[in-house]
Structures are given as structure tokens and as C-alpha cells.
Symmetry: C2
Subunit: 223 residues, 2 copies
């Protein structure tokens, strides 16, 4: 997915630069897909992939990956706002941008609440367990919102780039087919992540189960 | 949501007619949101809302609502294809349409498999319980795909309708703001449905629990 977005932006849409032009705009889809789809999704999987590691370590990796996602997202936002301002294009009018702002707001709220409740200063265990199920639900919901923003964004970009004949979007030139396939790949990626997240058997066992397991296996070793 | 889509299409985009023109196109967003978002979502909720009713009755209501969703979806598809053909516009080139076709294909596969395995001729209970978790996952995934298709579709439509100044999309005329708000309402609706679906406490109890419950309560009545 990441290789495809780089090839799409470099080979078909003019590559990258920080010059206030379309090449600066290209930093936007790259950073948003890197941050809000790829790194964000990896962060949600950490509790599954490292489900037998020490909890604090896994929490820090989860938070660390989300910090990288946050940085990529900020760079992607700066790129599109400075491009719009330099080219005298209005900001935040399309439904794509409204969905994007909704995604980012929910991401930031989830980030701050997660930090305060699970990491520092860390709430008491009643609040933690009540909030955990909401944190998990919104974790998936933010990924769904990010997918909605990504697909509407790629679709919008392809209508802008291939606006005129003979290279209109409806003639499906190379870059349009490539962009469509990239969109479908993003959707498949997000579906796989959601599948992994809802699979009960792959969830991290609760602390008490982790605690009892070694005792039981020690017991059977001694027999 | 349904009231909003009707107001948006009637008050801002010219209303409905079956004349091969833009008024026929308007049947497309109406039927797709009615079928693939509203009726589809209601069908997924039936096992929660009627969770203490007889299983076969609930299955038939679930299948019945999905039949209505299928009919609305077919009418919506016929509307857009005949509009495109009559106006000499290419079919199925945009990422919106690719996502839409993916959504519909998955919906049809899920419909046929669900019918064969759960209703008629009905598979044995091993196959049923193995397939049930997949059916539940794809039930949510299809709703996510429908939301992705809807948002990219509304976004695309608003760029088409408000293409030129002074009523360009970036000036946010009334119909554009209304369309954006409709999109956000669809996203909120889908998030609520996904929240209800993942909530374990609201799931239908397994058959054996339903079977044991009356015996237990009879017992305590007799005491």
C-alpha cells in the first residue's frame, strides 16, 4: 500500500517538493495514508502481535507508534494548508475535508484520553476498565473514518487531475487506474485490520489469565 | 438521515423523475442510502432488538429487510446506469463506483451464502457456527464499505453540481453545506450501528441459554 502511494504520486502526479505547488500537495496523501492508515493500524495491532509481552512495554510501543502517526498527520495537514493558501484555494469546504477533520479530532481526543487514563497519571482500575471498551470501539471507528476520508480524497484528487479530455478520468488513463487500485488496496488493508481486531481468540489475555498461566504450566512440568 | 437525503435531492438538486436526465440520477443516491445504509443497518440490528423472539421469526425478518434493501439497491443501480447511458457518460470509472461495485458484490455473496447456510436448505450446525462469525464480521464490513461508497459519492456529486463560480463548491452554497451535513449524518449513523453491533451485552443469547432460562425462572417461581 505504501509503495503504491509513493509510485502513484511520483510516477503519475509529479513527485514531491516543498514549494507551495502541486508537488507539495502530494505530501498530503502520502503522510495521511502513512500516518492515519498504516502507522495507526500497526499501533492497534500491537496488543495482538505482542500479546504475551509485559503490558507497560506494549503500551509504550502502542503510544510510540501513535506519536509517529500524529507527526505524519501534522506534516500532511501542513502540506495541504500551505498549498491551498499559496495557491489561493479555499480550505475545508469539501465533504472529504469535513470527514478528515472529524477523523483527526477523534484521533486527538482518543490520544489524549488514552494517555491520561492508561499511561500518565493513569486512572484507577474501575475507570480504566470502563473506558477500555470505548477506547477499543473508537480505535476501530477512527480507522473506518480514516478509510472514508482516504477514499473520498483519492476520488476527489483523480477528478481534479484528470479533468479534461483526452486524459479525463472517465477514459481511465494509467494514473487513474493506479489511483483506483490504490483505493481498493486501502479498503482491503483496513478490512484485514478490522478482522484481526474483532477476532476474540487473538486478543491479549486479561492480566489475571497471564498471571495464572505460568503457574499451571509449571505444575504440569513438575508432574 | 432519510428525510435529509430527500430534502437535499428535492430542494437543491431538482427532485425526482424517470426521464433519463439528472432527476433520474437523483433516484440513485436516494435508493442507495435507503437500501444499503438504512434498511441494511436495520436488518443487522434485528437480532439485537428482537433478541428474545423465536429464532426463525427473527431470521425471516432479517432476510425480509435485506430483500427490501436488495430491491432498493437494484432500482438505484438501474437509475444511474440508464442516466449514464442516455447522457453518453461512461459507467464504472471512478473510485466511488469501484467501491460501490465491491460493496454490492460482497452484499450479494453474503445474501446468497446466508440464505443457503442459515435458511434453506440450511447447513449442519458445525458449518453454521463456523460461518456465523464470518457472516457477522462481513455484515459490519459491508456497512463500512457502503459508508465509504456513500461519502465518496456525495463528495463527487457536489463537485459535479457546484463546478462553476459563483456557485462553486468552495463557496459552500446552501446545497453544498446540506450535502456535507448529510454525509456527516451518514457517518454518525453508521458509527452508532457499529457500536450496537460490537456490544457483547446486547447480542442475542445462544440457543442453549434461551432454552435454560425458562426452566430456571419456573424453578424460582415454584419456590
Amino acid at each position: 500500500m505504501l509503495a503504491m502511494v509513493i509510485v502513484w504520486l511520483k510516477a503519475y502526479l509529479g513527485g514531491f517538493a516543498w514549494n507551495g505547488g502541486l508537488q507539495e500537495f502530494n505530501v498530503h496523501p502520502l503522510c495521511m495514508i502513512l500516518g492515519m492508515i498504516f502507522l495507526y493500524a500497526e499501533a492497534t495491532l500491537v496488543y495482538r502481535v505482542l500479546r504475551n509481552c509485559e503490558k507497560l512495554k506494549v503500551k509504550l510501543i502502542h503510544a510510540g507508534l501513535l506519536c509517529f502517526a500524529l507527526i505524519a498527520m501534522i506534516v500532511g495537514l501542513v502540506a495541504v494548508f500551505t498549498f491551498h493558501n499559496d495557491s489561493h484555494i479555499s480550505n475545508l469546504y469539501s465533504l472529504h475535508s469535513w470527514c478528515g477533520i472529524a477523523t483527526i479530532s477523534m484521533f486527538c481526543a482518543q490520544f489524549v484520553l488514552g494517555f491520561l487514563i492508561f499511561l500518565f497519571p493513569e486512572a484507577n482500575s474501575d475507570i480504566k476498565s470502563t473506558y477500555l471498551s470505548l477506547h477499543q470501539f473508537f480505535g476501530g471507528a477512527i480507522l473506518v473514518l480514516a478509510a472514508i476520508s482516504t477514499i473520498s480524497g483519492i476520488n476527489e484528487k483523480l477528478f481534479f487531475v484528470y479533468a479534461k479530455k483526452p486524459k479525463s478520468y472517465s477514459q481511465l488513463p494509467g494514473g487513474a487506474v493506479f489511483g483506483n487500485v490504490l483505493g481498493i488496496v486501502v479498503v482491503i488493508f483496513v478490512c484485514f485490520i478490522l478482522f484481526i481486531l474483532q477476532k476474540t481468540e487473538w486478543k491479549r489475555p486479561k492480566e489475571e489469565d497471564l498471571f495464572f498461566e505460568p503457574i499451571l504450566s509449571e505444575g504440569s512440568d513438575n508432574e
